[in-house]
């Protein structure tokens, strides 16, 4: 799955949900007895719409679920998967927890770091890749595992990683 470029024009008017996203948010709101419960779905929809969650989008989510913006910020930062900073088009999230580590994940991280010339949390200058070490992805039997945006790539070795990198343009 590829994302929209991680840029948002400076708006003078507050951000609004694009039509498709607005429908998804409205659907999510019907799943719960109060608006607050839709905060995670709304944050996800924002992230899928803009590739990350810029401050304007955080404000939009807060307005949508009728919570103070600082509280939504507190919720968004509690979880690891919401990108409050822009990320590259391909967000490489390599698991380094024990099971993956036992089958070579550390070597793979080193390999990625060298090939891309970036470290944990960094993005290549062309905006193509962001590299991140993550904790267990529940793919322990198929390790090493890397999640790229929302997709899992499993049973990886150096050659497999190289093929994936070439494919992700």
């Amino acid at each position: 799955m590829s994302r929209a470029p991680a840029t948002v024009a400076l708006e003078t008017r507050p951000l609004e949900w694009p039509e498709a996203a607005r429908k998804q948010v409205e659907e999510a709101l019907t799943h719960y007895p109060n608006r607050r419960s839709a905060v995670l779905p709304a944050l996800w929809i924002a992230q899928r719409t803009w590739g990350w969650i810029p401050p304007e989008a955080l404000r939009l989510v807060a307005r949508t679920v009728e919570l103070p913006e600082p509280e939504v910020f507190g919720i968004a930062t509690f979880y690891t998967m919401f990108n409050l900073q822009p990320v590259g088009r391909h967000h490489l999230q390599l698991c380094l927890t024990v099971s993956c580590s036992l089958v070579g994940a550390d070597r793979l991280y080193e390999h990625l770091r060298r090939r891309l010339g970036i470290g944990h949390g960094e993005t290549t200058p062309d905006g193509r890749f962001t590299l991140r070490k993550v904790e267990c992805l529940a793919a322990c039997g198929n390790g090493p595992c890397m999640q790229v945006n929302e997709d899992y790539y499993e049973n990886l070795d150096e050659a497999a990683v190289d093929r994936i990198l070439e494919k992700l343009t």
């Binding site: 995670l40 024990v98 036992l102 089958v103 529940a138 322990c140 039997g141 899992y152």
Partner: protein, 442 residues
């Protein structure tokens, strides 16, 4: 080939995730009859008699938990399926839902009917967006077929199911933190009691059950408690899905009757260790439980036998450590996980996981002091039973267990200022001394 007696019997049937194939294999067949002939209380009694125990980690008897839901309350009741699958080493719920979502839906219909819930949520970990899509599709199919919605299978029972995606936080697997997260708060745990069965989601009676637990329910209610008890042991009836990881020949999920020896799982089902590897230790129930040394591989995989061996069945995530893996290094990795995932709410866990990781790192780097092993044990002991929720215990238990079984390897680090063995480090060093690979070009 069938991969197991119950949940894995048909798991690899092509198209099983679709309603038609699921029905062709007998899915939803007994549903209408159970709903017509058995009262909610009858269902709870059958599940109690089956001896089914929670498969999410704690092993609490499922029927008993359901019976705690108050009957004389005007409040709505909720059923929540825990599909957070956050315990390192565990990857079974993912395969179960991905391949057989309708079995979960059928289990949730029966469980919700038994406790009187008309709304159910499936809480999936944030990384499982694609599994959410599979489950949403199955829910839509079941709704269109009249199996969910205002009149489940033609009865006057109503059930609406929704999926809810987390966003990356191990703690949200803990049931009260999960409920906080579902309600739109930060995913931090709440004090128990009140237990969720009495005061859970939106302060209403709520049952939280693991995916695998709920998937066992249709078989039990269709065929009875005695049928279910043909598998497993007297106190640990039924089967369990074991997720095996580490350097074995065939890692993966295996469904076995409870009570099968660990050595059978590893040697017969997983094909033994990869060539050139030998078992050093096995963590049998997800990274939160104490490791078993290789001398205890004949331990039976059931709740009681594992407790007698000083560990737990947990989630059934079996992590195999080989003899060239450094035990201190492995524990450092595991402890970094808990340090990262501690929610920060209570001091013993927040500070304790930090200090355990610091001391383990020092030992691993050969900078350990004479007093460090005692210090590590003491910090762990100051977390155990003293943290707000069991995440702290989950961090302390593997450390204490590793010191208990591998004390001399810890001591070796202090006296020799290096690891006795460390395959991971050797492999990394070899890579680092090799010439750099070319950078990727656009």
């Amino acid at each position: 080939m069938s991969r197991g007696p119950l949940l894995f019997k048909d798991i690899d049937t092509p198209g099983l995730a679709g309603l038609e194939v699921y029905r062709g294999l007998g899915g939803y067949e007994a549903l209408a009859e159970v709903l017509a002939k058995k009262s909610p209380d009858d269902c709870i009694e059958v599940v109690k008699a089956s001896g089914l125990r929670g498969r999410g980690g704690a092993g609490f008897p499922t029927g008993l938990k359901w019976s705690f839901v108050p009957k004389d309350t005007p409040k709505p009741k909720y059923l929540v399926c825990n599909a957070d699958e956050s315990e390192p080493g565990t990857f079974k719920d993912r395969e179960l839902i991905e391949k057989n979502p309708h079995l979960l839906i059928e289990g949730m219909i029966l469980a919700a009917r038994a406790i009187g819930a008309n709304v159910g949520y499936v809480y999936l970990r944030g990384e499982f967006a694609w599994i959410q899509r599979i489950l949403d599709r199955a829910i839509a199919e079941a709704t269109a077929a009249g199996l969910l919605g205002p009149s489940v299978a033609g009865t006057d029972f109503r059930l609406d199911l929704y999926t809810h995606l987390g966003a990356g936080a191990y703690i949200c697997g803990e049931e009260t933190a999960l409920l906080s997260s579902l309600e739109g708060y930060r995913g931090q745990p709440r004090l128990k009691p009140p237990f969720p069965a009495v005061e859970g989601l939106y302060r209403c009676p709520t049952i939280v059950n693991n995916v695998e637990t709920l998937m066992n329910v249709p078989g039990i209610l269709a065929n009875g408690a005695a049928w279910y008890r043909q598998w497993g042991t007297e106190k640990s009836p039924g089967t369990k899905i074991f997720s095996v990881s580490g350097p074995v020949k065939r890692p993966g999920n295996y469904e076995l009757p409870l009570g099968v020896p660990l050595s059978t799982l590893l040697n017969e089902h997983c094909g033994g260790m990869r060539d050139g590897f030998r078992v050093k230790a096995v963590i049998p129930g997800g990274s939160s439980v104490p490791p078993l040394p290789a001398s205890l591989l004949d331990t039976a995989l059931d709740f009681e036998s594992l407790n007698a061996a000083g560990t737990y069945l947990g989630s059934g995530g079996v992590i195999v450590l080989d003899d060239r893996t450094c035990i201190v290094d492995a524990l450092w990795n595991i402890t970094r996980f808990y340090r990262h995932e501690s929610c920060g709410k209570c001091t013993p866990c927040r500070e304790g996981t930090y200090w355990m990781a610091e001391v383990l790192e020092r030992l691993e780097r050969g900078e350990g002091r004479d007093s460090d092993i005692a210090l590590l044990d003491e910090v762990a002991d100051n977390i155990l039973g003293k943290s707000f929720c069991p995440l702290g215990d989950a961090a302390a238990m593997p450390v204490m267990g590793a010191i208990r079984h591998f004390r001399e390897e810890f001591e070796y680090h202090v006296t020799h200022r290096r690891c006795r063995v460390n395959r991971r480090r050797e492999e990394l060093d070899a890579l680092r001394s090799a010439p750099a690979a070319a950078e990727v070009t656009a």
